[in-house]
Structure formats: C-alpha cells, structure tokens
Symmetry: C2
Subunit: 228 residues, 2 copies
Amino acid sequence: MKKNGKIEKVSEKTIGRLSLYRRAMDKLAKEGRDFAFSHEIAHMSGATPDQVRRDIMVLGYSGSPNRGYSVAELSKSIGEFLDDLDVQKVVLVGVGNLGRAILSYFTGKRPKLSIIACFDNDTEKTGRVINGCRCYPMSQLQDVINENSASIAIMAVPFSASQEVADRLTHSGIKGILNFTPVSIKVPHGIHVEDIDMTMALEKVAFYSRQKPQGQLLERRTNDKAGH
Amino acid sequence: MKKNGKIEKVSEKTIGRLSLYRRAMDKLAKEGRDFAFSHEIAHMSGATPDQVRRDIMVLGYSGSPNRGYSVAELSKSIGEFLDDLDVQKVVLVGVGNLGRAILSYFTGKRPKLSIIACFDNDTEKTGRVINGCRCYPMSQLQDVINENSASIAIMAVPFSASQEVADRLTHSGIKGILNFTPVSIKVPHGIHVEDIDMTMALEKVAFYSRQKPQGQLLERRTNDKAGH
DNA sequence: TCATATTCGTGACATCTTTCACATTGTGTA
DNA sequence: TACACAATGTGAAAGATGTCACGAATATGA
C-alpha cells in the first residue's frame, strides 16, 4: 500500500528479522568485525541476501558496494528504528517453571527492555526476589504497572486464568502482550499480542519430521469431483 | 502450485492452525459440545471463519450446513492428518531453567508425542530423573536416540553449543528440531527446523506496543530521490 | 588512470496467504 | 412436502511476502 511513493508500510516479518540482524551485528561486533555483507547477515539470521537488503531499506541506512554494511552503523540504525527512546518497562505475570525460565532468559538481554516486576498468586513467591526480579501478589498488578508506567507484559499463567489476566493488563494500560498461554486472548483494538505456542510449534515439527522423507504426503487430495 | 486440480500443497500456516483447531475441539468436547461452527472455532483459535473453513478443506472432512462441524469427527480428522500412526519420540537437549520448564510444560500434553529422554553435560543432572524424564550425559546422545528411534529433538542449550548439538542430532537420525536457541542452525536438506525466538518475539511486541497509538510510525520514508 | 570484480538498491515479477462473495446444501418448521 | 434460513465449500480477487535481475557504486590492482 504505497502512498505517492514516499511512504510505505513495513511488514511484520521485516520487524522480526531486523531484530535478528541486530543480534547478528552484536555478535560480529564482539568478534571485532567492522563490515558485513548481506549474504553474511543472511546466513547468520536464516534469511536470504535479498531479504536482508530489502529489509534494511526501511531503515534509510545504506551500505556501501564492495564493503557491505558497517556493523556499528547498521546496529545503530536498527536501534533507532526498533527501540523506544526510553527504556520500555516489562512485567511478567505467572512465576511458575516457565515464568522463572523466562526471567532468567531475558535478564540483561536487551538494555532497552527491562523486566521490572513479576506477579503470582502463590504466597511462597510474593514478597521475594526471584531471579533478580521482585515478585508481587496479583492484587497489586494494576498499581505496580501504573506506578512504573510499564507498557509490556509477558503472560505465563495457567490457561484457565488467561483471559482474565489479559483483561486486567489491558485495563492497566499495557500496550503489548507476549503470550505464552495456549489460549487466544481477546484484547481491545490497538493492543498488540504476540503468541508463543510451544505445543503448536512442536506439532508442526512432528508433522514435517514424519512426512519429509517421501515428500509426497505434504500434498492433499482435493474433494475430488473428477473422481468417480 | 496445483497439479491438474487433484493435488495441492498444504501451507505451513495451515498446519499450525489445524493444531489449534484440534485443541479447540478438545476443549469443546470436555464441555460436552457435539457441534461447532466455523466462527466459534475461529474465535477460539484467533483465526477468521474463512480461514477455518479453508483450512479444514485439506482434511477431506466436511461439516454440515446449519449444524457446523462435529467436534468428535473434526478432532479425529485432524488427528489422522497431523499425527503419525505410532507415537513419535522426542528428546530434549539442555536441561537448564528453560529445559525444565519445557519438560513440565509438555508432560502429557499430546499422547502421540512423548519425551523419552533429556540430555545435559552437568553431572549434577545426569543419571537422575527430572520432571519425570531420565537425564543422560551428552555422550550418550547418539546411542539413546538410535535405541529408541527418536525422530524429534527440542534444543534448549546455550547458544554457543547450538550448531554442534544440531550437527550431532542430525547425524543421529533426528528428522525435526524445535529450536529455542537464538541461533539460526544449519541442517541438511529434509530436516525441519522450527525456531522459537523469545527475544525476537519480545522485541516485536515492544515495537508495536510503542507505535500503535499514533499509527503513523509504522510507515517509512523511502530514500527520497524526489527530495533535494 | 582505467578495467575488473564485487556488492548494494530497487523495480518488476512470482508466489504464498487471506479475504470476498455467492452458489450449494442440510436442517427445522408449517 | 415445500419453504426459509443459516452455514458450508470454494472460485476468484486482493493483499502480503519473497525472489529475480540488472543498473549503479566502489574498492582493488595492473
């Protein structure tokens, strides 16, 4: 959907890949590399060189022919595009096995995204600091979110609590949710939800891992009207 | 790519959604429902009624107008399409925080997918049973996979070990990998890899949660050649 | 300095996925 | 039995995403 050739929408896939490219840049920077070619970035990110160049177009930043992209500048450009000026505050709801794993996974991963609190109903957990993150009772959800202007939530609660928690989060002013729950949550328009559905992912793998050898079962019969 | 109108490829997205539809059917069955309409399934799965009907076409199963789809039969049809006849055996590599969370998450979720072993280097863990799953040292990876004919692996190892583990898995005959590692692993043709990249997902949420209010920053300037 | 090899930027094209829209067909009712 | 209704099944259009291919730009070395 182009508007007079000056403005163009950025696809969701592109947003995701830019995040991967930045990670690749960070890795290269640590190795002391100054420049990288589109095909190297592609290889590191599971994309194609075409995709990489196409995606980078949205940044307004240009590489140089025969030298590639400046690692430092590309990383910076992606940061300017993806990141907010301020740190965005994140809360985690649900401190079970998965919640704790998420906490330790994200700790220090991205400087512009900070998990500032976590919530649970279990009084064994509330009041304590878990994996470096203070745990509050669910009753304080709204207050803590408001006091800290948190805008993002990660949901790792039992599926039965899913929708209720989502409602409370959106009422508290949360603008985006990363949902680990195997439930499709309903949110008001304008709130972004990203689902991570591990069961679905595993079932996809199972499907393809069993059918690949022959390659023929990936096709299907249509409701054959030609058949007789 | 249609071949004479009888055979058609099934899209990857469709595979994923079928898994969600089945989960919806299981839920409805528990509630005692016998029939469901496409719009109900859609609502439960975060899809549209059109998508649901389109996806179900690949099964060869038909609903009935005015009554919708039989919960039991749709679930069965999806099972026949997605599942292998036998149970598919799964191994988990990497029993850190995330690995343990994955173990407890999947336990008993899908009868046709069974996690039969997990692997780690830590001698504190090896030899023990963790979350109901026996933990072996990495050195036994190949042997255990072969002896049990496991075809699927879940990787939750540190990123630095990623590619090496992937290589060993594919050499051991693994046909599909669910990769929680933030690294794009390279595998031989015919091996299916599904990536779950939590950092990327969170960054996507962060991006959209910050830009949605105005809705304008989702657009981009092109490298204006008109400008001067 | 100039030719060469290499890579970027991007219009055009191809493919994949979703949505539209409507004919079709069971179902319940009078 | 015949009618009206409500959902399904599905070609076809629209939209999103990925790929191709080639001109432009730049480093390298004779």
